[in-house]
């Protein structure tokens, strides 16, 4: 069906991009991290303006100066990190910013009824009075889509829609999308996962470094070719050597950790890691993995249970004591937790280890700078100098800094929490390489990731977390993806 065409060409940061969506179609925008997909869609949804180029909706040229304009044209974007306010209710979130009858008065009960009706008509079950923070990731995504439906959007843009979903929720989503497609809506979704694009989309456009490489119909597209289009070359594969099993050096027993909203996030977790082993934790985000990592890393209080490392009870150790015994942590929120933005690169590289630079009661900044320069070189951190302020670095380089910092300390145990999130292929490859190197040197690694492929590639064993407990542990050599997917949703496994 193509009586409705939405097309828009040429933008500088996106290089002369032509892209279009037809009514009743699902169009996938594929590319690796940093290729420019989100930038492009931000323009379409009114969040930013193109330097060159135009947007046409239903054949008419439009100028989108803000998200409000885009919404008025029937374009609605669901962002990767949901734009929802945790302390407000579902109803309040759905109607936020939309015109109400009898403004400025707000009859919240009428709204709640209207939303229930709308949701049910699409087969979505949602409680309009629930506060956002009570909902799971899949439910939050439903609220986001409800926002679009409430505003009668014709064009729906989804940014990395499946990054927070389990396989079952993925199915629900694709059913909903097919239904909306049938109603004549045009759907664009951004992804860096090829199989996703192949499964959901009618057409796939590949972006690389801001340019359109090509657009293929689903029946024409093939995995290998798409990879080549996305990356421009073949990616060398990493191999994991078989290592002899070593003694267990790290144990967690019956661990209970509190969450932020008064509910325990980790509810009794047991596992062990051996030196020279990469132990992965899989699971949909929000099932307690972050809290587990924070507890082990000394950033969150442990309510009950024990953590032991090399025979020592480290349950309540603070970060400085953990560093002293060789336990390091690559944090999930690299900018929020991992760096001090106003300090320079050398100072940040020394963080955690700064006591070692003390000579005669004074801090030896020269030595710090020298050490920093070496690290910058060997880890390829792109920065003008070691005294540049850290907040001028790109996300990928900040991560390299943190990785450099942790690995250069020759850790005995390393916890890496989503270390490659948002990194481009070369940076991701770099991190994977370093992790495997560490493993070969007999460091134990705890790797938490929402990317199952990454886990399968790197880990020796994988545990799945669901609702604060471990649903099962599998050897990655024997693992079956579907089985893991089921454990992530609570069925299957133990």
């Amino acid at each position: 069906m193509s009586h409705v065409t939405k097309r828009f060409p040429g933008v500088v940061a996106n290089d002369q991009v032509d892209f279009d969506v037809m009514a009743g179609e699902i169009h996938g925008l594929l590319g690796e991290n940093g290729a420019g997909k989100t930038t492009l869609m931000n323009i379409l949804s009114g969040l930013s303006r193109p330097d060159v180029g135009d947007i046409y909706v239903k054949g008419q040229k439009v100028s989108l100066k803000s998200p409000k304009d885009a919404i008025e044209e029937g374009i609605f974007m669901v962002h990767q990190h949901f734009m929802l306010i945790p302390n407000l209710t579902v109803a309040e979130n759905v109607i936020l910013g939309a015109r109400q009858p009898r403004e400025p008065l707000l009859d919240i009960e009428k709204v709640e009824k209207k939303i229930s009706v709308l949701a049910n008509s699409y087969g979505l079950e949602i409680n309009p009075r629930a506060r956002l923070w009570q909902l799971s990731a899949g439910e939050r995504q439903k609220v986001e889509i409800l926002k679009a439906l409430y505003r009668s959007a014709d064009i729906l843009i989804l940014d990395e829609p499946t990054s927070n979903l389990s396989p079952v929720e993925l199915k629900t989503l694709s059913q909903m999308l097919v239904r909306m497609k049938g109603e004549g809506k045009g759907i664009i979704f951004i992804t860096h996962k090829i199989y996703e694009a192949l499964e959901l989309a009618d057409r796939v456009t590949v972006l690389r470094r801001g340019k359109v490489i090509g657009t293929l119909r689903r029946d024409e597209a093939e995995q290998k070719e798409l990879v080549k289009m996305m990356i421009g070359h073949e990616v060398p594969e990493l191999y994991r050597r078989e290592l002899s099993r070593a003694a267990s050096c790290f144990q967690v027993r019956d661990l209970v950790v509190g969450g932020d909203m008064g509910v325990d996030a980790v509810r009794g977790v047991d596992f062990e890691i051996c030196s020279g082993e990469i132990f992965g934790i899989a699971g949909v985000a929000g099932n307690g993995q972050s809290e587990l990592v924070e507890a082990i890393a000394g950033l969150r209080k442990v309510v009950k249970g024990r953590i032991a490392f090399e025979g020592k009870d480290i349950t309540h150790y603070t970060p400085d004591r953990l560093y002293a015994i060789g336990l390091y942590h690559i944090p999930e929120k690299r900018v929020e937790t991992g760096i001090a933005p106003d300090a320079n690169v050398a100072e940040n590289l020394a963080l955690g280890n700064h006591s070692s630079y003390v000579r005669n009661f004074l801090l030896d900044y020269k030595a710090m700078a020298n050490g920093a320069r070496e690290l910058i070189k060997s880890y390829g951190v792109m920065t003008p100098s070691e005294s540049s302020t850290v907040n001028t670095l790109s996300g990928g380089n900040i991560q390299k800094l943190i990785v450099a910092r942790c690995i250069s300390m020759s850790p005995k145990l390393l916890i890496a929490s989503n270390p490659t999130a948002g990194l481009d292929v070369s940076a991701t490859h770099f991190v994977h390489e370093k992790l495997l190197e560490l493993r070969d040197k007999r460091t134990g690694i705890l790797l938490v990731s929402s990317d199952l492929d990454e886990l399968l590639m790197l880990c020796d064993r994988i545990a799945v977390m669901y609702r604060g407990r471990i649903a099962g542990v599998v050897k990655s050599a024997e693992a079956v993806k579907e089985e893991i997917g089921e454990m992530m949703m609570g069925s299957g496994g133990l």
Binding site: M77, H79, I85, P86, L88, L96, G97
Partner: protein, 306 residues
């Protein structure tokens, strides 16, 4: 005896009112994510301009308008610096307090001379007695025999609650204070909402200051607000960002103030400096006892549209 409680209660309400008025304005502003440490300065400007305006016009209501403008000036500067220029809110507020103190003292001395001559009396803001209701035992004088500003304060409590919870504007304000980025994506103008809230904040703080120079006394003295602006900030925290809570907390502070004045009159054993100290001490202790719960999530963080 009843008469005594009656009058005491009335004085509690009177003393609490400036704090409450400024506090309500601050509560509205903080709900949108900005805090105005310069509240003290806004009150002082309100007191000064209210005094000057009513003195030179001979009409106390003109004075009220002047007071509102005085508070508004400080609030708008704060808004400009923190919303549009995205400077740190604490720094801006602290600086504005000193600016206000300097400006008002400068103004007073310029008009009345540098040596501290007693300034002229301005027309006073008198009580407006509501018949019948004012004769109720105990609460009669306290709530129904007060000046216009105090009635305004009391009326604002349910009004603000209504606007915050039952109108779209209130929803927008709350959204902006919790998560300005999300609110922006949905098409809400964070900047507009915050400026509107700051304007309200300035006007109410100015009126609170007016009560000091037009009702309590009939002239302005340097540093008149004596920390009430900060107590208003504390009242917002203690009141958990709800209008009723702010009122109750202000009544607490007003009560301590009334208590210490009465103790001085009665000449209980303690020397007067310790009496004067009481309200500040109580504020401190109250804050220490009650942990701050549920502030708006984005409070104090400047917003930049990427």
């Amino acid at each position: 005896m009843i008469g005594q409680i009656d009058l005491f209660l009335a004085s509690v309400v009177t003393l609490a009112a400036p704090i409450a008025l400024a506090g309500l304005g601050e509560q509205v502003l903080e709900k949108s994510g900005i805090m105005n440490i310069g509240l003290e300065g806004a009150m002082m400007m309100g007191a000064f301009f209210g005094y000057i305006a009513s003195l030179f016009s001979g009409n106390v209501y003109v004075g009220l308008v002047g007071a509102a403008l005085g508070g508004l000036i400080i609030a708008m500067i704060h808004g400009l610096v923190t919303i549009s220029l995205r400077a740190d809110q604490v720094v801006s507020g602290v600086t504005l307090n000193i600016l206000a103190l300097g400006l008002t003292t400068f103004g007073l001395k310029s008009i009345f001379g540098v040596r501290g001559e007693v300034p002229a009396m301005a027309p006073s803001l008198n009580e407006l007695r509501i018949p019948l209701l004012a004769d109720l035992p105990i609460v009669g004088h306290a709530f129904f025999d007060q000046n216009v500003l105090i009635y305004l304060t009391l009326a604002l409590v349910p009004l603000i609650w209504f606007v915050m919870n039952k109108t779209t504007i209130g929803l927008k304000v709350r959204a902006v204070g919790e998560d300005p980025k999300t609110a922006d994506t949905v098409g809400i103008s964070v900047v507009q909402i915050r400026y509107a809230c700051i304007a309200v904040n300035g006007i109410l703080a100015g009126l609170g200051g007016a009560m000091l120079s037009l009702a309590f006394l009939n002239y302005f003295t340097p540093g008149m607000s004596a920390g009430r602006g900060f107590m208003a900030l504390a009242a917002v925290i203690l009141g958990k960002w709800s209008p009723l809570g702010v009122l109750l907390a202000s009544l607490l502070f007003g009560g301590v103030d009334a208590l210490q004045i009465n103790l001085q009159i009665v000449k209980v054993g303690f020397p007067y400096p310790f009496m004067i100290m009481l309200p500040y001490l109580v504020t401190l202790i109250a804050l220490a006892l009650l942990k701050a719960l549920n502030p708006p999530k984005a409070l104090g963080v400047p917003y930049r549209r990427e």
